[in-house]
Symmetry: C2
Subunit: 346 residues, 2 copies
């Protein structure tokens, strides 16, 4: 792909950091000091600071055979911003650390950083630090994200109330179906290396997997329409898993209606093609990075008909348990079959 | 060592996180919310927040053949606290993320976390989050540390003035000599697996390598004796490298006197035994985690004779360059030969 290949050892750690962080301009007033000292300095200006961190490892969270490095850098930032947003805070800084083996060239790392910097620009976030080290294994990316929020606006997982409506943003299951297609094409490619991948008509769900977005727009929109969710979580491990977190930590039960699940047409069609139940993909497919939250029933009028949101159920008494209600009126216990980095392969 | 071995897959990610973070009590008022939601929440209470992050990788930063997991967990926290302290801030929170392969048992990770929690207790720091994931390669630890400082107390690397005294805490080169001994014993053990390691009389320098401390005591002491350093950095890559950082970023030169370098007797004796120049070990051996700072000459009386500190030189004009002055009055250009995670092995 690239014509030149510069070895990482030629630049050394400091030279490489300088090259990768070139052209970074401080965006937020709260960022007092960025990259270049022992630590960065931020000033919350009276707000509370939200802190989250995620580790992405090659072969577990991503496969470089079909993940462009630029997209990987973008996604590594996004998954952390999504956690900040799920506290009802606005993200403002990230640190990005990489462990890389010498099979990566400087050019490859520059591509990865292009994605990191693009995500920072798109979301008005400052890249304030990180670490860069060699690895004897594969590529690993550790991101920490910070954001700010007024103390009274923080939204936890544990504060939903009985009778609250359960609301989800966007649509579900797309990232999972995108992954299925990429895995299929990988197998095809292994058997016939010259084969062209069949990706027409599935662009949306591929992007859901490879270049997801965090719902900053939703957090800003909720402020505009004056809704403070009673509890909130982002969907990284799958709707069912996250809904169970909200219920368990709020000491409540939950009801989710299958016919209310927002599923995009591409997701639906591809699920059918793979002989999968689209509803199960929406319930258990992870990495959608949508927001799942609860609101007081009195707020329903504010979101009624709003294309950002789908009301998919409500919070029940803890004794009523957690259930999925089928289209035909039957029901089953809601169980989490989503992503777990330590799950045994079945 | 342990009688039982519990596989990580038996607990899953959430069960494992619960087990490892058992018994954590919030210490700092600034920690509003710790582990258990999408993100932690902190309240800087009007101070500025300092943020730093480090990534430690197996086979690069540590060798599990001679690094007890408890010490590794301790050290992973300490190296980050040291960066916070080097900004003249007091550390208050950490996040700790691990990528582990299935060759580690739950019991092994508990041991590592014992070290993490011990460091947190010793330094009054709250463990507020992290991530836990599997790895196809070796063990990797990513730590982010936060701390607070009044805006007017922040000390950068770039603000030393010409004529300022260069001061270092504790003694230097010990961690490096400790590493040399561990590497030697590893080779001995490889050739004769039954051999008992020869570690008598070198306990201090082994501890410098395996279980270093961060100089929180020094930062508190400087406040008591009313010294605000004009510039500061912590010594992770070696004195020469860090002194060059201070000089370069303050647009100054520097003079370091060989005869002023603080070297412990064990470090000195072992360097001689290994046919190494003790001064070079002090200048280029990394991982001492001491503080290197500059003070105005008018502050000299406050630290004169203080056992915490050694005045080892002064800041010169940029045009005068960076030099090491030998005992005999001769001199040489100061060069950094310290740690670089990407350095080619010579």
């Amino acid at each position: 792909m690239d014509e030149t290949r510069t070895e990482i050892g030629e630049l050394g750690e400091f030279g490489l950091i300088n090259k990768l962080t070139e052209g970074i301009i401080r965006i937020n007033d709260e960022t007092v000091l960025g990259i270049g000292d022992d630590a960065a300095v931020i000033d919350a200006k009276g707000k509370q600071t939200v802190v989250t961190t995620d580790l992405l490892t090659e072969g577990v969270h991503f496969n470089l055979m079909y993940t462009p490095l630029r997209h990987l850098g973008y996604k590594a930032v996004i998954v952390n911003l999504s956690d900040v947003l799920a506290m009802n805070a606005l993200p403002s800084q990230v640190t990005v650390s990489l462990a890389v083996s010498n099979r990566f060239s400087v050019e490859a790392l520059e591509e990865l950083y292009e994605g990191v910097k693009l995500a920072c620009r798109m979301y008005n976030v400052d890249l304030i630090g990180g670490d860069l080290t060699s690895s004897v294994g594969g590529l690993m990316i550790a991101v920490t994200a910070l954001g700010f929020v007024e103390a009274e606006r923080v939204v936890l997982r544990s504060t939903a109330k009985k009778g609250d409506l359960l609301v989800v943003t966007g649509d579900l299951g797309g990232a999972y179906m995108g992954l299925q297609i990429l895995e299929r094409e990988k197998e095809v490619f292994k058997e016939a290396p010259g084969a062209q991948p069949e990706l027409e008509g599935v662009e949306y769900i591929l992007e859901r997997q490879l270049k997801p977005e965090a719902r900053k727009d939703v957090i800003e929109h909720l402020r505009e329409i004056k809704i403070q969710p009673t509890a909130m979580i982002d969907i990284s491990d799958g709707l069912a898993s996250e809904a169970l977190h909200l219920a368990t930590e709020s000491k409540l039960g939950v009801r989710i209606y299958e016919d209310k699940l927002p599923i995009d047409q591409q997701t639906y069609d591809q699920a059918r093609e793979f002989n999968l139940d689209p509803s199960l993909c929406a319930l258990n497919g992870g990495e959608d990075y949508e927001l799942l939250f609860t609101i007081d029933q009195s707020d329903f009028e504010k979101i009624k008909g709003d294309p950002h949101f789908s009301v998919i159920g409500y919070m029940a008494e803890q004794s009523e348990g957690c259930e999925l209600i089928f289209r035909n009126g039957g029901s089953t216990e809601l169980t989490a079959q989503g992503w777990d980095a330590f799950r045994k392969e079945s």
